[in-house]
Symmetry: C2
Subunit: 241 residues, 2 copies
DNA sequence: ACCTGAACACCGTTCAAGT
DNA sequence: ACCTGAACACCGTTCAAGT
């Protein structure tokens, strides 16, 4: 979908050897299956065959399919966040962390569904921590840490999920331009009376670049943080009484 | 739902029998099932029983389970967006639309998963259109319409999805304070060396109000829009070279 | 302790047959 | 055209039995 998803892949693949079954090997096989065949491709039957065992053996190391998915997701996210951003400004470090997550989810679209379904559980603290530190470094007052970081995280996951869904709908092989073209064609056929705005932005949607768009969104949120939490007063946006 | 209106014309012993099977009745039953028993509760077996037919009859009106979910989701979203916001400022109308979606997704948590998985397809244009009109009214230049509206939509769906996931994890009956308390307790047990930020915001997370938090996020994005797209210059946020 | 593999309950979907 | 319901292929999970 996006560019080269150069996310650290495991190199060593042990051939036929009857390496002892372990939690790690199971999760590794699950991730590989998810990446290559999608969410519906992860099956205890296939997993069993891949690992040359029976289902009972897998259940001896993992509680159930849900835990397997949770652990697999956590592993991907942890790897994506493990890269310490070197940029000098907190803003740029936030951009780096955000992009790292975006690319990881783009490379492993099934992670998006899993993260969306987990709420505040599981891997959420990892993400919160990584972004939150930069929010602190930004100079946001401590009382605003939680809202600020949460908004960033929710935008990142929302945008990444949407992007991943697009990628999932066409499969890893398909052409990006074709996909956008097909969608643009659909939008162009919407009733002009009901969808004037959508039709007006068809061109922008057809031509947009996912990563660029995502970064523009991050910049927008950062600008909002600056306006609302880094100046002395509650500027810019005001509500009706 | 309950057809209590027509009485004397026909003596019906069996509860709801008779009424002709239709796409509408099927979708209606599916929504009810999803709302009361969750995503895993929607089954062709149960649906079949509820509607007093065989599976074949349902497949005569609906292509498959996926279509059923898509249509059900579209119905909920359409209903949520049907309420025309009366607020006088575009900002307040955006808040109204956003809150309408948030509440709808909160009431029907399964909608979140469905929307996250749909990408730019299906009901996306509805949401884009509704928010986009207000973005236009805001005075955002046409070239920025797509990014601006997209960011708003992605934040809304991301936040609503996270909220829905939390709700889903405890069930409709459970106590909200208990849930947050339990999560706060979990966070408080994280390694202080690895999670200093997360531990620092435990209190804020325990005490936060979901809707208030969501609206604060909308305000933050609106402030970003104001800063980046409603002033003459590219202010506030600047990148490193 | 770790693994095997048949078996169980359940799922979405199909289809020949009825009206 | 619309519906019936048995049947099919497949799923996650269990468990008595083996080593």
């Amino acid at each position: 979908m996006c560019q080269d998803g150069a996310v650290a892949t495991r190199t060593q693949r042990s051939p036929r050897r009857t390496e002892a079954l372990s939690r790690e090997r199971i999760v590794e096989a699950a991730v590989e299956l998810l990446d290559t065949t999608g969410e519906s491709g992860l099956t205890f039957r296939v997993l069993t065959e891949r690992l040359a065992t029976g289902p009972g053996a897998i259940y001896h190391h993992v509680a159930n399919k849900g835990e397997l998915l949770t652990v697999a997701t956590d592993e991907i996210v942890a790897a994506a966040l493990a890269v310490e951003p070197l940029a000098s400004s907190p803003q740029d470090r936030i951009r780096a962390v955000a992009l790292g997550l975006f690319d990881a989810i783009d490379a492993h679209p099934w992670v998006a569904t899993q993260l969306s379904d987990s709420g505040w559980q599981a891997t959420t603290p990892r993400i919160l921590e990584s972004i939150g530190r930069q929010v602190g470094a930004l100079g946001v007052p401590e009382d605003d840490w939680f809202i600020t970081t949460t908004v960033l995280m929710q935008y990142i996951l929302g945008a990444a999920a949407q992007n991943a869904a697009n990628a999932r709908h066409v499969g890893p092989d398909a052409n990006r331009a074709e996909l956008l073209g097909a969608m643009a064609a659909e939008w162009a056929e919407l009733d002009p009376g009901d969808y004037p705005f959508t039709r007006a932005v068809v061109g922008q949607m057809r031509d947009h670049d996912d990563r660029e768009q995502f970064l523009a969104g991050i910049d927008l949120v950062l600008a909002g943080i600056t306006a609302l939490h880094l100046t002395g007063r509650q500027a810019a946006v005001h509500r009706e009484p």
